[in-house]
């Protein structure tokens, strides 16, 4: 039996065309700072960061069939740790970043331990409650977290001070973790997760340890959410309880759904859509949360398959 060489390489299964498209997208993204204003480059940076968060949620929602409402908290824990480590504790950015991702992974593994036994609505409720607990702790533990006022620190190093330089740094990071996530869901492990999503009982009778797979899947997803949180600390240089609040998780989930559940890279489209919407709305009114709520309701009623899925459905209907 002869196997194509690419199957064994790190790019397993990526066709030539997909590789070219991915390359083009990255090149276009890299050129953005040359045409956009510095404010818009800031927005694009935000899109990349939240795209990574939405992708990390998609690993669970799209490939393991479990939608988490606690990822905003995991993301925010990393932000808190990075800001605290580089500010109050005076550590270097690299140490701080590593600690942040580590903390997010630890929190995710605790969430995972509790949540893997549940599915469907119970999973949603439990991750929501756990996320709220993190928020409550960040709000009340004033001595460490600064309570409602939050914390400020100059997280970003001098060479990344300009908008474009930071954008390119985040783009590099986003490309690396996106590739890692793509590789993860295409791995045999990722396929097992998909099997669990489609039929838990069948996977169990085939001899797979379902809770263990979900635990690892959740924890890995937490690592990526932690990376996004660390990048956000560098982006914002500030953290407050609203970073770990439910709204953060909800926005992440909304971006993931808007981009299309299970599409992975759609997360960036969803993140761009929501962040652009947020900025347009915010220039007219302060009622962003209200608009977010309405958007959520409308998407749930009219386009639960996401913007891309909806467009695809409409165009295929027209084509017929």
């Amino acid at each position: 039996m002869t196997q194509p060489v690419s199957k064994n390489s790190i790019l397993a299964g990526m066709t030539g065309r997909a590789l070219v498209i991915a390359g083009l997208v990255v090149i276009v993204a890299a050129c953005l700072p040359m045409v956009l204003s510095s404010y818009q480059v800031g927005l694009a940076t935000e899109v990349l960061i939240f795209g990574v968060l939405a992708m990390s949620i998609d690993i669970l929602a799209g490939f393991a069939g479990r939608t988490s409402l606690g990822h905003g908290a995991i993301f925010g824990v990393s932000t808190y740790v990075v800001v605290y480590a580089t500010g109050q504790a005076g550590l270097s950015l690299w140490t701080g970043f590593a600690l942040g991702v580590l903390a997010a992974t630890a929190v995710a593994s605790v969430f995972a331990l509790l949540a893997v036994r549940t599915s469907g609505v119970y999973f949603l409720l439990l991750t929501l409650a756990l996320g709220m607990i993190v928020w409550g702790v960040c709000l009340r533990w004033t001595q460490v977290t600064g309570g409602e006022n939050g914390m400020r620190a100059d997280v970003r190093p001098a060479i990344l001070m300009s908008h474009s330089a930071f954008y390119w740094a985040v783009l590099t990071g986003a490309v690396i973790v996106s590739f890692a996530m793509w590789r993860f869901v295409r791995s045999p492990f990722g396929l097992t997760l998909r099997g669990i999503r489609d039929s838990e009982s069948r996977m169990r009778s085939l001899g797979y340890n379902v809770p263990l797979h979900l635990f690892i899947g959740f924890t890995v997803s937490g690592i990526f959410a932690g990376v996004a949180g660390g990048l956000y600390a560098m982006f914002n240089n500030f953290v407050s309880p609203s970073t770990v609040a439910l709204a953060q998780s909800v926005e992440g989930v909304l971006m993931m759904i808007a981009g299309g559940v299970g599409t992975l890279f759609g997360a960036f489209v969803g993140a761009a859509a929501i962040i652009v919407l947020e900025n347009i709305v915010s220039s007219y009114t302060e009622r962003w949360l209200m608009v977010l709520g309405i958007t959520f309701v409308l998407i749930m009623i009219f386009a639960p398959e996401g913007i891309i899925g909806k467009l695809r459905a409409i165009t295929s209907r027209k084509a017929r």
């Binding site: 331990l113 756990l130 702790v137 949360l289």
Partner: protein, 283 residues
């Protein structure tokens, strides 16, 4: 824990019971996890506050809060949730969107200041309970909690409607097949559960005060109660409320800054052994 703190825990548990029983009724029968329940609580509190201040009557405030929240519940159920029936995930996320909308709307209408619902004359001041001086109003809340428990118990176990609700929790399709209009029972339950959130808002607004993030806090506590107690069980809500209320008070006394954390421990231990909660049954 002193008697004073024990009473604090019990009265908080009573409030939680009123709010969470509405939540679990809806969850148990309609299979809808209404994450707007916390927002309904806050809205009920604000409306009750406004009505009570205008009319000078706590009772009228309570009736106003319950009626207004039942009306919002009606719009939510008939206007929005009907489009996503049968899909649990979409329902939950939709109610979450509604929660954000209502929370922000409350901020527009009442602003970000905290309000305290005025307590009626006869419930002001304190009294001696086993030698401890304790506010009368909080004892009233405790009484209300017990009253609502007994009322729900009678409703669920000794009326035809209650029998339908219980049957619906077990198997809604079967009830429908035997000629009952289960939709009407569903709608009544949804309105009734929402009204309980409104009542809770008014009761809680008088001793915990009302402020923009109060909805998220009460929702977390209600979720903990329902996760511990199990879906759709009245006794489960009672036991869950007592546990969460007492643990929260214990946490506040022992680790004031991490009180939130103390409800987490028991929930974790419980979930390891009973993923469906103490009184929850698999469906």
């Amino acid at each position: 824990m002193s008697l004073f703190q024990l009473l604090n825990g019990l009265t908080f548990a009573a409030l939680l019971f009123v709010v969470a029983s509405g939540f679990t009724l809806i969850f148990g029968l309609l299979r809808i996890v209404n994450l707007a329940h916390g927002a309904l609580y806050l809205f009920g509190g604000y409306i009750g506050y406004s009505v009570a201040v205008k009319t000078g009557s706590f009772v009228v405030g309570g009736i106003g809060a319950m009626a207004a929240i039942a009306a919002i519940g009606f719009v939510l159920d008939q206007g929005l949730l009907r489009f996503v029936r049968g899909n649990e995930l979409r329902q939950v996320l939709l109610t979450l969107g509604v929660a954000f909308f209502l929370n922000d709307l409350a901020l527009v209408i009442w602003g970000g200041d905290s309000f305290t619902v005025p307590i009626p004359e006869m419930l002001r001041g304190g009294t001696r309970v086993f030698g401890t001086f304790y506010p009368i109003y909080r004892l009233f809340v405790l009484g209300m909690g017990i009253f609502v428990f007994i009322g729900l118990w009678v409703l669920l176990n000794h009326t035809r409607l209650g029998a339908l609700i219980r049957a619906g929790v077990d198997d809604a399709e079967m009830v429908e097949a035997s000629g009952v209009n289960i939709r009407r029972v569903f709608l009544f339950t949804f309105l009734f559960g929402s009204a309980l959130a409104g009542l809770g808002g008014l009761m809680g607004g008088a001793f915990l005060s009302l402020y923009p993030s109060a909805d998220a806090e009460i929702l977390t506590f209600s979720l903990a109660v329902v996760i511990i107690g199990g879906r759709g069980s009245l006794v489960g809500v009672g036991v869950g409320s007592l546990l969460v209320g007492l643990l929260n008070t214990l946490g506040q006394v022992m680790f004031p800054e991490l009180a939130y954390f103390v409800i987490f421990g028991p929930m974790a231990v419980l979930l390891a052994f009973r993923p469906l909660g103490l009184f929850g049954r698999a469906t």
